[in-house]
């Protein structure tokens, strides 16, 4: 197991490098002249040349990449021209709130999704199954940005139970309970689709596993149904569900872009949207890179959990 973990950890290095190449290429293949785009009406020839030199755009592409990569490794992601501060500072500041939001949503979707899926499978075709299946269908069809707006309309504007946005009150004490109060609606909006997906795949995974011969063996041994379902069926189903939860982490990190915009959450998603519309390329680059890297680590974690569950995967 430890050997596998080390090998798997080593494999993240090429993935991280690949990600850096893609991020670098996507941004540097921007059609047109970035300097002109950045400067807009201030694009005098001298200014354009200065920006190009600052960005290193007068160099060949591989050199640009290596220079950029070296900077990245030293913690230098460049300077955001629109905010006039180092990209790294801004990205790190914004990353925390996104992580809190995404973690909350991931927690919700895992717990609720697994529970709903198991109940649904065990009570297949019963009323609980029908209710869950229908709810899940609506859930996975809901645009999270629309749901966010509706939640604000009902629970914040209408009922006044929750704040309409932000992470803390303007003059609040910054306590965890205050954070939780602000977190509830956005985390819920963000978790709905992912919960639906997890519930669906848990249901079908459980149905698949419940038909297996070893479940019949467990029943033939006279074990009580609770143990058959949890110890024999669920653990086996979980091996297939863990990577799905990993994928949901990706959806949640990406979907945070919408939710942060709707709820004015001071996270990295909202920063990216602003950066794209102001064409602050280095800020986009830095934000995407940091979020993608964190997703690689999440995938590493789900992989290791999966292998811990299933000894057959430890070889190779």
């Amino acid at each position: 197991m430890l050997g596998y973990a080390l090998r798997r950890l080593a494999l993240t290095v090429p993935v991280l490098l690949g990600i850096s190449v893609i991020v670098f290429l996507v941004i540097s293949l921007i059609p047109g002249d970035p300097a002109t785009a950045i400067l807009g009406s201030f694009a005098t020839p001298e200014n354009v040349e200065r920006i190009n030199r600052e960005l290193g755009l007068d160099q060949p592409l591989p050199v640009q990449y290596l220079t950029w990569l070296q900077g990245v490794l030293e913690g230098d992601l460049g300077r955001s021209y629109s905010l006039n501060r180092p990209v790294l500072d801004e990205v790190l500041e914004r990353f925390g709130p996104t992580l809190i939001l995404a973690a909350a949503a991931l927690f919700l979707c895992t717990v609720l999704g697994l529970a709903a899926g198991v109940v649904s499978a065990v009570r297949q075709y019963g009323w609980a199954d029908k209710l869950i299946t229908l709810t899940v269908l609506v859930g996975i069809s809901t645009p999270s940005f629309f749901l966010g707006i509706m939640l604000i309309l009902w629970f914040s504007v209408g009922l006044g139970w929750f704040p309409t946005g932000g992470m803390y009150d303007l003059f609040g004490d910054g306590s965890p309970s205050e954070l939780l109060w602000h977190l509830t609606l956005p985390a819920t909006a963000l978790a709905v689709v992912a919960t639906g997906v997890v519930a669906r795949l848990t249901r079908s995974g459980m149905l698949e596993v419940l038909r297996q011969d070893y479940v019949r063996t467990a029943r033939a041994k006279g074990l009580r149904e609770g143990r058959v379902i949890l110890r024999h069926a669920f653990v086996n189903a979980l091996v297939g569900i863990v990577p799905i939860i990993g994928i949901q982490a990706g959806f949640v990190l990406g979907g945070a872009v919408y939710i942060e915009t709707v709820f004015q959450w001071p996270g990295i998603g909202r920063m990216l949207v602003t950066a794209i519309s102001t064409r602050d390329i280095l800020l986009v680059q830095g934000g995407v890179l940091v979020v993608a890297a964190s997703f690689v680590l999440i995938n590493l974690a789900t992989d290791l959990i999966q292998v811990a569950l299933d000894p057959r995967l430890r070889r190779g």
């Binding site: 993935v15 690949g18 990600i19 893609i22 991020v23 996507v26 941004i27 921007i30 059609p31 499978a121 269908l137 996975i140 069809s141 809901t142 645009p143 940005f145 629309f146 707006i149 509706m150 309309l153 149905l207 698949e208 038909r211 011969d213 070893y214 479940v215 019949r216 063996t217 033939a220 041994k221 006279g222 074990l223 009580r224 058959v228 024999h232 653990v235 086996n236 091996v239 982490a249 990706g250 959806f251 990190l253 990406g254 872009v257 709707v262 990216l272 949207v273 794209i276 519309s277 390329i281 986009v284 995407v288 979020v291 993608a292 997703f295 690689v296 995938n299 299933d310 000894p311 057959r312």
Partner: protein, 633 residues
């Protein structure tokens, strides 16, 4: 359960139209897409004409059913035109992603090696980004705009197609018909297009139907953020984005497009689920319904009387499978009595009902679709079919134990084999952890597993097939059962391993004095292990008696024919007389004797009424009216 392997072909359309929810989905999609397509000819106001005087009219206003937006434009008209754009972009993105992704998947899986490595590592790279983030990065690079959003969404969806098509193709490439195509001299291109593509098409369609909904949502999302459709062009997402700031004063401006997206995507997903159910072969056969803890039993009462000394008494057992309109009578009325310590073999070909008989005893026939339609199963005087669940569970694995066919699939792959043995000791003997472990190690030792203390902690995949079956036998013997039911326990094993496992099973059973019901298709194995034999055909016992006598002088034409068509080692010159024809399908049994259509002795009486089991000698019975003509030997 080969009985269910004769599917009736119904058209995909007919199956889809029987699914109520899918029809609702189809109706929603057809209605919305139809209206969107007809937008140019519908009597709608111009969606782009602003009328500041009429701004933010509420729904149901005169001349504007759905009200107007912040610039006084007609919401209904904008909705229809916006839906048109959203659907077009979503569908176009789906087609692009499906084409590129499927091509990658097919090529990677078929050629394997380098092509597979290069293509799939690229796909993995795309998957290493959080889904939407990559789309954002692409839009950031290309600049906001509907076409760029389409491209971005298509690119991030390519991995889903590439992965599912590759997975499906890998399963096919190993299938023998691809090898057959190579031997037929086909070129690679022809194999991909004519052998593989038609078989993965359902997978592509399923993936399209599940992703098109997301793609519409995600393009709407990009427009919502202001990165997709640019004014004056509008899609549903940008309308929602425009309305967001007015949500308190004029909620209809955002609610109307939001609800339309929701309804459209619900419709698409309902339809997609229906399509998947129709196209996915595993779902088609109803395979995805999970068996419940115990076979369903039709209403019926216990007669209350029986053979006092018998260990197991089966009376007129009928087990059926109800699949759609069809009723498969897998077991059509079986009787037998087993005395303590006796060994009984049940032989027959696939579909004869021998395994279903064995599984019926402890209610392990999968329900749905299985149901015990009638009869009694009395074990030590108690009717197992009508026993409360908890009492039945106390007998399972304790007084009656099973050994199943394939030791790899019958052991839980994630549990150490030792724990699978201790589990049953703890359950039935109430042993503590360490006592159970000690006893399990003794059991593993008794079944001939070397180094039982180390092997206790092994996982099933770390053992050989023979060792796995020894573990299963240890599990079965753990609580010193009165009856062991073995269902083809050595069919998956090689002959030399089979010989050793059978010898072990025989020795241990004799030592413990347990009775044995042994299910097999192998007449030789029955001869080695059993005292008495039941020969089954089409769900009924056709002959029973002491093994030696039955095989030496069969008194049913089927038994005789079965013995004549098996090659026997050491008798290569003996002519093999094949039985003409096939066994009848168990949902369409002929009247009279089920074997009559293939029987050389059949006459008119054989095809009329019910043929009963007749006594043909000491402890022997035959379901044939002409048994006397078969002679002895």
């Amino acid at each position: 359960m080969a009985a269910s392997s004769l599917p009736r072909r119904t058209s995909a359309w007919a199956r889809l139209s029987r699914n109520g929810l899918a029809v609702v989905g189809l109706a929603i999609v057809v209605a919305i897409v139809g209206i969107a397509l007809l937008a140019p000819v519908l009597p709608l106001a111009d969606p782009d004409i602003t009328a500041p005087a009429n701004r933010l009219l509420p729904p149901f206003s005169h001349g504007a059913w759905l009200g107007t937006d912040q610039l006084g434009r007609d919401m209904l008209s904008r909705l229809v035109w916006g839906a048109r754009v959203s659907i077009a972009v979503g569908v176009a993105a789906t087609l692009v992603a499906a084409f590129v992704g499927s091509t990658i998947g097919l090529v990677a899986a078929y050629f394997g090696r380098l092509a597979d490595n290069v293509l799939m590592r690229g796909v993995d790279m795309l998957m290493a980004f959080p889904y939407l983030l990559l789309a954002l990065a692409i839009v950031a690079a290309l600049g906001p705009g509907l076409l760029n959003a389409l491209l971005a969404i298509a690119v991030v969806n390519i991995p889903f197609f590439a992965r599912s098509v590759r997975g499906a193709t890998l399963g096919l490439v190993q299938r023998e018909f691809i090898e057959a195509a190579r031997l037929s001299g086909y070129s690679n291109a022809r194999i991909i297009l004519s052998e593989l593509l038609p078989n993965v098409l359902p997978v592509i369609v399923i993936t399209m139907s599940t992703t098109v909904g997301w793609m519409i949502l995600e393009t709407a999302g990009l427009s919502f953020l202001g990165l997709g459709a640019q004014p004056p062009q509008a899609d549903l997402g940008s309308m929602l984005g425009d309305g967001r700031n007015l949500v308190i004063t004029a909620p209809h401006v955002s609610i109307v497009p939001g609800v339309l997206i929701l309804v459209l995507v619900i419709g698409i997903n309902l339809l997609g689920d229906g399509l998947r159910d129709v196209l996915d072969p595993r779902l088609k056969s109803g395979a995805l319904s999970r068996p419940v803890a115990r076979t369903a039993v039709a209403e019926g009462r216990t007669s209350g009387t029986g053979d006092k000394g018998a260990l197991l008494e089966v009376r007129n057992l009928r087990t059926e499978f109800h699949i759609g309109q069809r009723v498969l009578k897998a077991v059509g009325g079986i009787d037998f009595v087993l005395q303590p310590g006796e060994s009984l073999g049940i032989v027959g070909e696939s579909g004869s009902g021998k395994s279903v008989t064995a599984l019926s005893i402890l209610g392990l026939v999968p329900t749905p679709p299985g149901i015990v339609a009638g009869g009694e199963i009395r074990f030590a005087g108690r009717d197992l079919l009508r026993l409360p669940m908890r009492d039945l569970q106390d007998i399972r694995g304790n007084r009656i134990a099973y050994i199943f066919q394939d030791p790899l699939t019958t052991l839980n792959p994630l549990m150490r084999v030792g724990h699978q043995v201790t589990e049953t000791l703890i359950r039935h003997q109430g042993l503590g952890g360490s006592a159970a472990r000690r006893q399990a190690e003794e059991l593993l030792d008794a079944v001939g597993i070397p180094q039982p203390r180390t092997k206790f902690d092994a996982f099933p995949h770390e053992l050989s097939g023979g060792q796995r079956q020894r573990v299963v036998i240890a599990m079965a013997l753990a609580n010193r059962p009165d009856l062991i039911i073995a269902d083809e326990p050595t069919t998956a094993l090689d002959v030399t391993t089979q010989a050793r496992v059978l010898a072990l099973l025989n020795d241990l059973r004799r030592q413990s004095g347990a009775a044995l019901v042994f299910i097999t298709h192998d007449l030789g194995v029955v001869s080695e292990l059993c005292e008495r034999v039941l020969v089954m055909y089409a769900g009924k016992v056709v002959e029973s008696g002491p093994v030696g006598e039955v095989f030496a002088a069969p008194r049913h034409p089927y038994t005789r024919a079965l013995l004549a068509c098996v090659p026997v080692l050491g008798e290569p010159e003996r002519a093999l007389d094949a039985i003409p024809g096939l066994p009848p399908p168990v949902d369409d049994l002929p009247e009279g004797c089920a074997f009559a259509p293939r029987c050389p002795l059949a006459m008119a009486e054989c095809r009329r009424g019910e043929i009963l089991l007749a006594r043909t000698g000491e402890g022997r019975r035959s379901r044939c009216i002409r048994w006397m003509e078969l002679g002895d030997g």
